[in-house]
Point group: C5
Chain length 358, copies 5
Amino acid sequence: MKFSKGSRKSALHKVTEHLTGEFRTKQETGTLEKTIIELISYNEESVFMEENKPVDELLDQCDRKRKNWLNVDGLTDRNMIDRIAAKFDLHHLLIEDIMNVDHQPKTDELDDHLFLTLKMFYRFDEEKIDYEHISFVLGKNYLLSFQEKEGDIFSGIRTRIKQDNGIIRKRGTDYLLYRLVDAIVDSYYSVLEKIGEQVESIEENISKNPTVKDFQQIQKIRKEFIYLRRVVYPLREAINKLVKNENGFIDENNEKYFADVYDHVIHLIDSLDTYKDLTSTMMDLYMNTINYKMNEVMKLLTIITTIFIPLSFVAGIYGMNFKHMPELAWENGYYGVLAIMGAIFIMMIAYFRYKKWF
Amino acid sequence: MKFSKGSRKSALHKVTEHLTGEFRTKQETGTLEKTIIELISYNEESVFMEENKPVDELLDQCDRKRKNWLNVDGLTDRNMIDRIAAKFDLHHLLIEDIMNVDHQPKTDELDDHLFLTLKMFYRFDEEKIDYEHISFVLGKNYLLSFQEKEGDIFSGIRTRIKQDNGIIRKRGTDYLLYRLVDAIVDSYYSVLEKIGEQVESIEENISKNPTVKDFQQIQKIRKEFIYLRRVVYPLREAINKLVKNENGFIDENNEKYFADVYDHVIHLIDSLDTYKDLTSTMMDLYMNTINYKMNEVMKLLTIITTIFIPLSFVAGIYGMNFKHMPELAWENGYYGVLAIMGAIFIMMIAYFRYKKWF
Amino acid sequence: MKFSKGSRKSALHKVTEHLTGEFRTKQETGTLEKTIIELISYNEESVFMEENKPVDELLDQCDRKRKNWLNVDGLTDRNMIDRIAAKFDLHHLLIEDIMNVDHQPKTDELDDHLFLTLKMFYRFDEEKIDYEHISFVLGKNYLLSFQEKEGDIFSGIRTRIKQDNGIIRKRGTDYLLYRLVDAIVDSYYSVLEKIGEQVESIEENISKNPTVKDFQQIQKIRKEFIYLRRVVYPLREAINKLVKNENGFIDENNEKYFADVYDHVIHLIDSLDTYKDLTSTMMDLYMNTINYKMNEVMKLLTIITTIFIPLSFVAGIYGMNFKHMPELAWENGYYGVLAIMGAIFIMMIAYFRYKKWF
Amino acid sequence: MKFSKGSRKSALHKVTEHLTGEFRTKQETGTLEKTIIELISYNEESVFMEENKPVDELLDQCDRKRKNWLNVDGLTDRNMIDRIAAKFDLHHLLIEDIMNVDHQPKTDELDDHLFLTLKMFYRFDEEKIDYEHISFVLGKNYLLSFQEKEGDIFSGIRTRIKQDNGIIRKRGTDYLLYRLVDAIVDSYYSVLEKIGEQVESIEENISKNPTVKDFQQIQKIRKEFIYLRRVVYPLREAINKLVKNENGFIDENNEKYFADVYDHVIHLIDSLDTYKDLTSTMMDLYMNTINYKMNEVMKLLTIITTIFIPLSFVAGIYGMNFKHMPELAWENGYYGVLAIMGAIFIMMIAYFRYKKWF
Amino acid sequence: MKFSKGSRKSALHKVTEHLTGEFRTKQETGTLEKTIIELISYNEESVFMEENKPVDELLDQCDRKRKNWLNVDGLTDRNMIDRIAAKFDLHHLLIEDIMNVDHQPKTDELDDHLFLTLKMFYRFDEEKIDYEHISFVLGKNYLLSFQEKEGDIFSGIRTRIKQDNGIIRKRGTDYLLYRLVDAIVDSYYSVLEKIGEQVESIEENISKNPTVKDFQQIQKIRKEFIYLRRVVYPLREAINKLVKNENGFIDENNEKYFADVYDHVIHLIDSLDTYKDLTSTMMDLYMNTINYKMNEVMKLLTIITTIFIPLSFVAGIYGMNFKHMPELAWENGYYGVLAIMGAIFIMMIAYFRYKKWF
């Protein structure tokens, strides 16, 4: 297996690196040295959580009569993941999709479990966007979640299970999956919000005094939309598959929750498209404003040149050193020429006024 | 529920605020402090209306043998809405869609009621567009309507029910729904009309004397189209679901009414697309006119410069102070130079004439 | 019914007016003061025509065993139309579609009749396009046609029925419908032909000497395409419904005739799209030609300026009045300077030649 | 029938003439005065060909037990075509499609024969494209082909039938149809090849020294693509119908041959689209190269002007005739000014160097 | 068969040559003089490989009870290929698709074998892209592969079969097909990676100092995308057919492997589209930067001209030689004029500052 897979993955990895450029960082911050595994086993009556234990011990504690959420933070410990795969009978292609952090969002319905992979944003600021690769395996009474990096987005849900408020402990692991996916989709909104703020501030700048920097900002945002689209568009299809629920992995009563998430993804895509349209409107506006200023510059150049070049010519005439230039000897020659120049000046100004140049 | 929902809603709200920018106002005007609830219960024989009563009392008066229209103005009194939900067995996700004023138009067919949400414009002028979020729940012999703001668009229909003219009291609540939706879709036409007037006036300006302001106006209208499209396009799908009527919430005899509304929505979308095409034609026209004017400016600059610079050079020659410049001493040197200058001038003019520059 | 419908229609009417602008005229010419009704009742053996009779009398003469073509010119006499509706059991929504001259082309299959509405061009020249709204109701042995304005496009078919040549009297009213629709679709070709002539003449102008007027002409034609598309595109769907003939309103033997009309509509749409592509090619050509001319202007400006400004500078040097300027006293100083100037001139020319500027 | 059909055809003809412009020639060359009819009757054992005989005689010789290929060159002899129609029971709408040389490619499956019409290119050079309208009627053991103009593209197949090499005589008329259609589709490739050569030569010109002529060439090719698309796109649908072969006109063993032709049409369309994309790339390249040259021109103008205008001003100062100008009397005033001028000159050059202008 | 096929192929070949231009090289390097044929026959227990033997001998050694992989390098020996075709009952149209190196990727499901053809890149650098045409025929227990050129991409898989590690020898020839196709799709990623590096380096250049060369580079990459799209887009459809596996050529257990390849192709297309969007963003950036620099140039020109032309005019005034010019005789006339010039200069500078020109 080494040959083809090995070579592809390295190529694929580089492709993605190029595609995301400085956009996706080298994961210095969030990448885990160690893979952390945590089990939350619950039913309506009780809940217990286990962490920092050997993987085999945790796997043994999965009681198929209770609901088990096994959360794995970090994808570096291949051995641990292989053991989980053996326990839950996961195909090695599925494991590869879990490990491949560049994989696109998708839902696969397999024989006795459902596989869902998507991206989560956990940092988005002026400097960079950082997202991580998250995969879920939903089976009967168990939910496995694999996170690329350690994150705290699920901590709210963890607390909720512990405290037993809400209906989360009454329902199955499919409802838990909904809660987790819902939390992830929420994270997209804050990204969109950031972009919204950027768009707004650029738009204000452009309408006042557009600079090259604004244009570069617009281009940067357009690039961000290109990346976001890559992440959000396939998500629609993936969630839709959950809503259709052809193989019954989702309880019928919970279908409407995924339909709700689907609505949100549609809304996201729609907002993304709207922003994209807005940026193209902004680019038109920018271009036109720049153009307009340029025209003003050209007009000024033309006015000054057109007025003074003929005047200078007249002055040039009477600067000639011919012996016989009768005008030069006239008593009021000088004043006459000044008068003529004044007349030309006024005519020119009148002409430009008539043309509404200023 | 607080964590994920709360955070999303605030993010979502901000996103929408950005998207609509100054476009959608902060609802100072129409937002209700108090939620007003009103019940109109009618059948072919009689009608009674109740308002300003405690919600429980009103809900008790809903006689399932009569047709009941329960209209709620304002979405701030969560408690009241929860009671209505309990009475009519509405799912909490549905309630959230009613409360979420940024939700996109959609139709959902549930077990024993049909849910429809859409937007209504109630103000559209030079300064701002204001729309409100309206939701309907249609069940057997009852229709619930939830309005974000107090409005008078339904007052005509209310009067009609009271006076018992038309067929409105003879038919079921599905027909009432049609009448309300029809009134809302009508409100879109007046928005379109306003935009039509704006487009027309801009087009006239551009063909006469295009200014930057016209361009900004075009951009503003294009932005308005982007927003309108967001509201109207999903409406098509929503109404279409009503026309298809797969679960029989609409009486078969009333299907054609919704088909009629559907026709109007198609017409709206079509008009919107046509206007959009027109604005892009206008932008081309604007750009070209600006370009044309610029070319005129450049031509003038070129003509003046090209004529006078060589003439000035000639004058410059004879302004030199060399001791031995025979021409300067010639009797008619001055007149000769003037003649040469005149010749150059005429040749230049002839050249430009030949090139059809003016 | 007055409230919602009334207000919509006025809004809708204004929208359409804006959309069509000066394009669609105010119908001074063709609008009928009086609604004219005419009955042609025929079978294979005989034919009789009645006109200028009270509507009730005409309706009584409709013999359901013969084939009846009832043609109504003018849509102003609501009373007459209501009587026809009563006689043929037409729903009031259908009547509204007949009356609404802005309605888009569509086919509706109802319980016992088929409804088809479309537009017909009857005038298209330099100044304006005029089309009218035509609706057909096809039932068993009867065909109702409602024309917005009096026209003579159907007179050929009327004559044909009278003279009993062709197969028109042998076949049912569905065949008559085909003949009428076919005549209308023919009218589109002459519009397309007019536009074709305009496109051709503009293209010739542009390749010779493009002016702003040509550009405005292109824009005008593009606007015309936008309007035509609105009329022709939905027609495809409407005719297609006739071809599919799911409810059997068309005799199977006549289906191929409608398929033929459908082919023509497809050809129309295709020609429209081709013309549209051509106009965008023309715009590119126009823009480029204008651009090219501008470049020529700029080159001339640059050549003249670049040659004479250095020369003038040299002349300026020796126009200075310093006491101690040895060159001025040189015997051949003047001729030397002239030689230098000549050399600069020739070098400049050579440079521009080398750069292939002229 | 005369009225509507007559008027349409003339309009339709003019439309097509405009659309194809100088593109499609007036058919002086290939149009036949006389309609030539030729019968090739063959089976596995024998073949006989008849030409230049009266149509009725030829039709009588069609032996329904043999395979008959009746080829008609020229569409002017309506009488002859009507007789063929009578013999083979062709509907008059089908005859009209055969006669209408502007009809778009399509396949129609009728009761007992299949109708296929398409275009064939027989001349394509610098000056013009000439294509002809060809129609086929495939029935049991007979194939009718109607060519607008006399051509020799089928002569190879004719020879092949005569000489009985290949499998052509062993198979039915559906295989013959395949061979003819295949030969026609081949003719498209040579057109594409010509365009390919043009595109290549223009691309070379542009990268060297783009002129307006190159741009006009690109526009011409883009127009040619618009026309080609009109001919090739509907062909895909037409051939696809043959491949699907729903009514069994094609022998199942021969279906794969048509699938092969279909592959070629797809390849044609794909190549067409690729060329189209290439031309738009070329236009961008052209525009940019022109733009770049313009910028060079403007830079030169700016450099010369910016250097010499200040210098001339200095010279102008000391050309003034004030009585009291102390510098003028200085011993080294002249040299000082020259030095200052030299310093300005060097600074300006250094500035432009710094700005990397040359 | 010679006539039509011969002429088409030559035309088709030329078309493809134009399309790929200097892009696809004339295959000097990789084209084989000799066709090499190699048989790998294996089952779970044993494997033997045969090479450099006469084709008939090899074909005799194909044991239908073992799994046989027959790999043909080079497509020039038509005779050998015909013998293989006879042995495995391949239709001559299929053989033509194998031989036609310009054929587009596709999957055909035939009676007792499956045919798949696609392209493989084996060289892609600054100078050229080289891809080869590869076809597979998958039947019961045999897999035929036809390569246009000798390559070593399959050598890893060959070794793997020999060494019997992995599951490759346990599974059928359909799994072998997956491994080969997977290796080919991998080759696309390295091409994409190269392009990614180019895009990145151009983007850096543009943001610093855009030159015409950068623009030409962008255009070159855009052309490469056009070619890549031609190769990759139809591959999606071809692989999808394998995944659907309607006729059961693929073992059900192996379907998921092809689904995995399909995922990769989707990812490729998606990356291609993203890159395409990026290049258009880059073009906008390039254009704008160029434009911005041009504006700077024009501003400089305008500033210099606007400041010095009026000043020169003033100097010109006092350079006139009129006898009676009182200012000339004033004691401080010269200083006064210098003062006025200074004032004009400062005012102009202040104006430009106010206008924020520098």
